[in-house]
Protein backbone atom coordinates (compact mmCIF):
# COMPACT_ATOMS: atom_id res chain seq x y z
CA UNK A 1 0.00 0.00 0.00
CA UNK A 2 1.52 3.27 -1.09
CA UNK A 3 0.04 6.66 -0.35
CA UNK A 4 0.67 9.35 -2.94
CA UNK A 5 -0.23 13.02 -2.62
CA UNK A 6 -2.91 13.39 -5.28
CA UNK A 7 -2.23 16.98 -6.34
CA UNK A 8 0.46 18.71 -8.39
CA UNK A 9 1.07 21.52 -5.92
CA UNK A 10 -0.55 23.46 -3.11
CA UNK A 11 -2.72 25.67 -5.32
CA UNK A 12 -3.96 22.59 -7.17
CA UNK A 13 -4.80 21.10 -3.76
CA UNK A 14 -6.74 24.24 -2.80
CA UNK A 15 -8.70 24.60 -6.06
CA UNK A 16 -9.27 20.82 -6.48
CA UNK A 17 -9.93 21.35 -10.20
CA UNK A 18 -12.91 23.60 -9.53
CA UNK A 19 -14.41 21.65 -6.63
CA UNK A 20 -12.26 23.36 -4.00
CA UNK A 21 -14.86 25.85 -2.73
CA UNK A 22 -17.42 23.06 -2.17
CA UNK A 23 -15.00 20.68 -0.47
CA UNK A 24 -13.34 23.30 1.71
CA UNK A 25 -16.65 24.88 2.70
CA UNK A 26 -17.83 21.48 3.94
CA UNK A 27 -14.69 20.87 5.95
CA UNK A 28 -14.75 24.35 7.50
CA UNK A 29 -18.39 23.95 8.52
CA UNK A 30 -17.60 20.44 9.79
CA UNK A 31 -14.70 21.71 11.90
CA UNK A 32 -16.88 24.47 13.36
CA UNK A 33 -19.63 21.97 14.26
CA UNK A 34 -17.21 19.60 15.97
CA UNK A 35 -15.46 22.42 17.83
CA UNK A 36 -18.83 23.68 19.05
CA UNK A 37 -19.79 20.18 20.25
CA UNK A 38 -16.46 19.77 22.05
CA UNK A 39 -16.36 23.20 23.69
CA UNK A 40 -19.99 23.84 24.69
CA UNK A 41 -20.22 21.18 27.47
CA UNK A 42 -16.90 22.36 28.93
CA UNK A 43 -18.11 25.95 28.99
CA UNK A 44 -21.46 25.13 30.56
CA UNK A 45 -19.66 23.00 33.15
CA UNK A 46 -17.42 25.95 34.05
CA UNK A 47 -20.43 28.29 34.36
CA UNK A 48 -22.27 25.72 36.48
CA UNK A 49 -19.41 25.15 38.90
CA UNK A 50 -19.01 28.92 39.32
CA UNK A 51 -22.74 29.20 40.05
CA UNK A 52 -22.57 26.40 42.64
CA UNK A 53 -19.67 28.15 44.41
CA UNK A 54 -21.57 31.45 44.40
CA UNK A 55 -24.62 29.79 45.99
CA UNK A 56 -22.36 28.18 48.58
CA UNK A 57 -20.86 31.55 49.52
CA UNK A 58 -24.34 33.07 49.88
CA UNK A 59 -25.44 30.12 52.00
CA UNK A 60 -22.40 30.40 54.25
CA UNK A 61 -22.94 34.16 54.60
CA UNK A 62 -26.62 33.74 55.53
CA UNK A 63 -25.76 31.07 58.06
CA UNK A 64 -23.23 33.41 59.67
CA UNK A 65 -25.80 36.22 59.82
CA UNK A 66 -28.37 33.93 61.44
CA UNK A 67 -25.84 32.90 64.06
CA UNK A 68 -24.99 36.54 64.79
CA UNK A 69 -28.70 37.40 65.11
CA UNK A 70 -29.21 34.51 67.46
CA UNK A 71 -26.19 35.54 69.52
CA UNK A 72 -27.37 39.21 69.82
CA UNK A 73 -30.92 38.31 70.89
CA UNK A 74 -29.66 36.04 73.65
Amino acid sequence: MELVFQFENLSDFLTMSGHGPYVWACYIIGALCLIYLAVSPLRSRKVLLREIRRLQRIEAHEKKQREQMAASTN
Binding site: L3, V4, F5, Q6, F7, F13, M16, S17, G18, H19, G20, Y22, V23, A25, C26, Y27, I29, G30, C33, L34, Y36, L37, A38, S40, P41, L42, S44, R45, L48, L49, R50, E51, I52, R53, L55, Q56
Partner: protein, 248 residues
Protein backbone atom coordinates in the same frame (compact mmCIF):
# COMPACT_ATOMS: atom_id res chain seq x y z
CA UNK B 1 -24.98 -13.08 35.63
CA UNK B 2 -23.97 -10.25 37.88
CA UNK B 3 -26.37 -7.35 37.45
CA UNK B 4 -24.92 -4.98 40.04
CA UNK B 5 -23.34 -2.84 37.30
CA UNK B 6 -26.81 -2.12 35.94
CA UNK B 7 -28.01 -0.91 39.33
CA UNK B 8 -24.85 1.11 39.84
CA UNK B 9 -25.50 2.83 36.52
CA UNK B 10 -28.53 4.30 38.20
CA UNK B 11 -26.20 6.25 40.47
CA UNK B 12 -25.06 9.42 38.71
CA UNK B 13 -22.22 9.88 41.20
CA UNK B 14 -20.81 6.43 40.47
CA UNK B 15 -21.06 7.10 36.74
CA UNK B 16 -19.39 10.49 37.06
CA UNK B 17 -16.43 9.12 38.96
CA UNK B 18 -16.12 6.02 36.78
CA UNK B 19 -15.98 7.98 33.52
CA UNK B 20 -13.35 10.47 34.74
CA UNK B 21 -10.52 8.35 33.41
CA UNK B 22 -12.16 7.73 30.01
CA UNK B 23 -12.23 11.38 28.90
CA UNK B 24 -8.53 11.91 28.03
CA UNK B 25 -8.34 8.58 26.18
CA UNK B 26 -11.40 9.27 24.13
CA UNK B 27 -10.14 12.77 23.35
CA UNK B 28 -6.73 11.57 22.14
CA UNK B 29 -8.14 8.68 20.10
CA UNK B 30 -10.90 10.70 18.44
CA UNK B 31 -8.68 13.69 17.58
CA UNK B 32 -6.01 11.41 16.07
CA UNK B 33 -8.51 9.40 14.03
CA UNK B 34 -10.27 12.54 12.76
CA UNK B 35 -6.98 14.20 11.78
CA UNK B 36 -5.59 11.12 10.03
CA UNK B 37 -8.87 10.46 8.24
CA UNK B 38 -9.24 14.08 7.09
CA UNK B 39 -5.70 14.40 5.74
CA UNK B 40 -5.91 11.00 4.07
CA UNK B 41 -9.31 11.69 2.56
CA UNK B 42 -8.50 15.21 1.37
CA UNK B 43 -4.99 14.73 0.05
CA UNK B 44 -4.10 11.07 -0.42
CA UNK B 45 -7.25 9.23 -1.47
CA UNK B 46 -7.54 9.09 -5.28
CA UNK B 47 -10.07 11.33 -7.06
CA UNK B 48 -13.32 9.69 -8.13
CA UNK B 49 -13.41 8.94 -11.84
CA UNK B 50 -16.96 10.30 -12.20
CA UNK B 51 -17.28 12.97 -9.52
CA UNK B 52 -13.67 14.18 -9.45
CA UNK B 53 -12.62 15.85 -6.21
CA UNK B 54 -16.07 16.83 -4.98
CA UNK B 55 -16.57 13.28 -3.71
CA UNK B 56 -14.06 14.06 -0.91
CA UNK B 57 -17.04 15.49 0.96
CA UNK B 58 -18.00 11.83 1.58
CA UNK B 59 -15.42 11.69 4.40
CA UNK B 60 -17.52 14.17 6.35
CA UNK B 61 -21.00 13.52 4.98
CA UNK B 62 -21.21 9.77 5.60
CA UNK B 63 -19.75 9.70 9.15
CA UNK B 64 -21.96 12.65 10.18
CA UNK B 65 -25.06 10.89 8.80
CA UNK B 66 -24.09 7.61 10.50
CA UNK B 67 -23.79 9.28 13.86
CA UNK B 68 -26.94 11.35 13.32
CA UNK B 69 -28.81 8.03 13.05
CA UNK B 70 -26.86 6.09 15.70
CA UNK B 71 -27.34 9.06 18.02
CA UNK B 72 -31.08 8.82 17.50
CA UNK B 73 -31.03 5.18 18.62
CA UNK B 74 -29.09 6.16 21.71
CA UNK B 75 -31.54 8.95 22.49
CA UNK B 76 -34.65 6.80 21.94
CA UNK B 77 -33.31 3.77 23.82
CA UNK B 78 -32.22 5.81 26.82
CA UNK B 79 -35.59 7.57 26.69
CA UNK B 80 -37.29 4.16 26.87
CA UNK B 81 -35.07 3.02 29.76
CA UNK B 82 -35.91 6.25 31.58
CA UNK B 83 -39.64 5.68 31.01
CA UNK B 84 -39.69 2.01 32.00
CA UNK B 85 -37.14 1.75 34.81
CA UNK B 86 -37.18 5.41 35.92
CA UNK B 87 -33.42 5.49 35.68
CA UNK B 88 -32.23 9.06 36.24
CA UNK B 89 -29.03 8.59 34.30
CA UNK B 90 -30.90 7.39 31.20
CA UNK B 91 -32.96 10.60 31.20
CA UNK B 92 -29.77 12.65 31.37
CA UNK B 93 -28.26 10.73 28.45
CA UNK B 94 -31.43 11.32 26.43
CA UNK B 95 -31.32 15.03 27.13
CA UNK B 96 -27.61 15.23 26.27
CA UNK B 97 -27.96 13.24 23.04
CA UNK B 98 -30.50 15.62 21.49
CA UNK B 99 -28.29 18.69 20.81
CA UNK B 100 -25.38 16.53 19.60
CA UNK B 101 -27.68 14.67 17.23
CA UNK B 102 -29.18 17.89 15.92
CA UNK B 103 -25.74 19.36 15.12
CA UNK B 104 -24.65 16.16 13.34
CA UNK B 105 -27.89 15.97 11.34
CA UNK B 106 -27.43 19.62 10.42
CA UNK B 107 -23.87 18.83 9.28
CA UNK B 108 -25.09 15.86 7.22
CA UNK B 109 -27.75 18.04 5.54
CA UNK B 110 -25.40 20.96 4.86
CA UNK B 111 -22.54 18.83 3.49
CA UNK B 112 -25.12 16.96 1.40
CA UNK B 113 -26.45 20.22 -0.03
CA UNK B 114 -22.96 21.49 -0.84
CA UNK B 115 -22.06 18.15 -2.41
CA UNK B 116 -25.28 18.21 -4.40
CA UNK B 117 -24.46 21.47 -6.18
CA UNK B 118 -21.48 20.24 -8.28
CA UNK B 119 -22.83 16.68 -8.55
CA UNK B 120 -26.56 17.04 -9.18
CA UNK B 121 -26.58 20.71 -10.14
CA UNK B 122 -28.85 21.71 -7.27
CA UNK B 123 -28.50 22.49 -3.56
CA UNK B 124 -31.72 20.86 -2.51
CA UNK B 125 -34.35 18.44 -3.82
CA UNK B 126 -37.29 16.92 -2.00
CA UNK B 127 -35.80 13.48 -2.43
CA UNK B 128 -36.97 10.80 0.04
CA UNK B 129 -33.60 10.41 1.78
CA UNK B 130 -33.06 14.14 2.15
CA UNK B 131 -36.61 14.82 3.31
CA UNK B 132 -36.51 12.03 5.91
CA UNK B 133 -33.19 13.40 7.20
CA UNK B 134 -34.82 16.80 7.52
CA UNK B 135 -37.60 15.15 9.55
CA UNK B 136 -34.89 13.62 11.77
CA UNK B 137 -33.46 17.11 12.32
CA UNK B 138 -36.89 18.39 13.40
CA UNK B 139 -37.35 15.41 15.74
CA UNK B 140 -34.10 16.32 17.47
CA UNK B 141 -35.22 19.94 17.72
CA UNK B 142 -38.54 18.73 19.13
CA UNK B 143 -36.82 16.82 21.91
CA UNK B 144 -34.67 19.87 22.74
CA UNK B 145 -37.78 22.09 22.79
CA UNK B 146 -39.73 19.68 25.03
CA UNK B 147 -36.84 19.54 27.48
CA UNK B 148 -37.10 23.32 27.83
CA UNK B 149 -40.90 23.50 27.77
CA UNK B 150 -41.76 22.07 31.20
CA UNK B 151 -41.16 23.35 34.70
CA UNK B 152 -40.82 19.84 36.07
CA UNK B 153 -37.91 17.81 34.82
CA UNK B 154 -39.88 14.55 35.14
CA UNK B 155 -42.67 15.75 32.86
CA UNK B 156 -40.12 17.04 30.36
CA UNK B 157 -38.35 13.68 30.37
CA UNK B 158 -41.56 11.75 29.82
CA UNK B 159 -42.70 13.99 26.97
CA UNK B 160 -39.38 13.95 25.17
CA UNK B 161 -38.96 10.17 25.66
CA UNK B 162 -42.38 9.60 24.07
CA UNK B 163 -41.55 11.92 21.17
CA UNK B 164 -38.22 10.21 20.52
CA UNK B 165 -39.83 6.76 20.65
CA UNK B 166 -42.57 7.77 18.21
CA UNK B 167 -39.90 9.30 15.99
CA UNK B 168 -38.06 5.98 15.60
CA UNK B 169 -40.62 5.21 12.85
CA UNK B 170 -38.54 7.58 10.75
CA UNK B 171 -35.30 5.57 11.13
CA UNK B 172 -36.11 2.59 8.84
CA UNK B 173 -37.60 5.07 6.38
CA UNK B 174 -34.26 6.89 6.21
CA UNK B 175 -32.35 3.64 5.73
CA UNK B 176 -34.66 2.25 3.09
CA UNK B 177 -35.50 5.53 1.32
CA UNK B 178 -32.71 5.12 -1.22
CA UNK B 179 -34.05 1.71 -2.23
CA UNK B 180 -37.80 2.35 -2.01
CA UNK B 181 -37.81 5.64 -3.88
CA UNK B 182 -34.91 5.55 -6.25
CA UNK B 183 -34.67 9.22 -7.16
CA UNK B 184 -31.52 11.27 -6.78
CA UNK B 185 -29.63 10.20 -3.71
CA UNK B 186 -27.27 7.33 -4.45
CA UNK B 187 -27.75 4.01 -2.61
CA UNK B 188 -25.59 3.13 0.39
CA UNK B 189 -21.86 2.83 -0.25
CA UNK B 190 -21.14 0.68 2.79
CA UNK B 191 -23.15 -2.45 3.31
CA UNK B 192 -22.97 -5.05 6.03
CA UNK B 193 -24.46 -7.88 4.01
CA UNK B 194 -22.66 -7.48 0.69
CA UNK B 195 -19.44 -6.01 -0.61
CA UNK B 196 -19.05 -2.25 -0.50
CA UNK B 197 -19.21 -0.33 -3.74
CA UNK B 198 -15.99 1.55 -3.03
CA UNK B 199 -12.32 0.80 -3.62
CA UNK B 200 -10.16 0.16 -0.55
CA UNK B 201 -7.99 3.24 -1.27
CA UNK B 202 -11.12 5.34 -0.73
CA UNK B 203 -12.65 3.02 1.86
CA UNK B 204 -9.88 3.04 4.50
CA UNK B 205 -9.95 6.78 5.19
CA UNK B 206 -13.75 6.59 5.30
CA UNK B 207 -13.65 3.81 7.90
CA UNK B 208 -11.11 5.82 9.93
CA UNK B 209 -13.40 8.87 9.81
CA UNK B 210 -16.40 6.80 10.90
CA UNK B 211 -14.41 5.33 13.81
CA UNK B 212 -13.23 8.83 14.68
CA UNK B 213 -16.80 10.18 14.64
CA UNK B 214 -17.97 7.34 16.89
CA UNK B 215 -15.22 8.08 19.43
CA UNK B 216 -15.88 11.80 19.20
CA UNK B 217 -19.60 11.18 19.71
CA UNK B 218 -18.88 9.07 22.80
CA UNK B 219 -16.62 11.82 24.12
CA UNK B 220 -19.07 14.70 23.72
CA UNK B 221 -22.06 12.64 24.91
CA UNK B 222 -20.09 11.75 28.02
CA UNK B 223 -19.08 15.37 28.60
CA UNK B 224 -22.64 16.64 28.23
CA UNK B 225 -24.04 13.90 30.45
CA UNK B 226 -21.44 14.61 33.12
CA UNK B 227 -22.28 18.32 33.09
CA UNK B 228 -25.97 17.39 33.29
CA UNK B 229 -25.22 15.17 36.31
CA UNK B 230 -23.50 18.05 38.10
CA UNK B 231 -26.42 20.35 37.29
CA UNK B 232 -29.10 18.00 38.63
CA UNK B 233 -27.08 16.96 41.67
CA UNK B 234 -25.90 20.44 42.58
CA UNK B 235 -27.52 20.31 46.02
CA UNK B 236 -25.57 17.19 47.02
CA UNK B 237 -22.45 17.16 49.13
CA UNK B 238 -20.19 15.54 46.56
CA UNK B 239 -20.96 18.12 43.85
CA UNK B 240 -20.46 20.98 46.32
CA UNK B 241 -17.11 19.51 47.32
CA UNK B 242 -16.17 19.13 43.66
CA UNK B 243 -17.09 22.76 42.89
CA UNK B 244 -15.04 23.89 45.88
CA UNK B 245 -12.07 21.83 44.73
CA UNK B 246 -12.21 23.19 41.15
CA UNK B 247 -12.48 26.76 42.38
CA UNK B 248 -9.42 26.76 44.57
Amino acid sequence: MDWTWFHRLGSPKWFYEKTNAWIPWLAVISISLLLIGTVWGLAFAPADFKQGNSYRIIYLHVPASFLALAGYYIMAISGAIGLIWKMKLADMVMKSAAPIGSVLTFLALVTGAIWGKPTWGTWWVWDARITSMLVLFFLYLGVIALQEAYQHQDTANKASAVLSLVGTVNIPIIYKSVDWWYTLHQPATLKLTSESTIHWSMLYPLLIMIAGFYCFYALVLLQRTRTEILSREKKTKWVKALAEEKGS
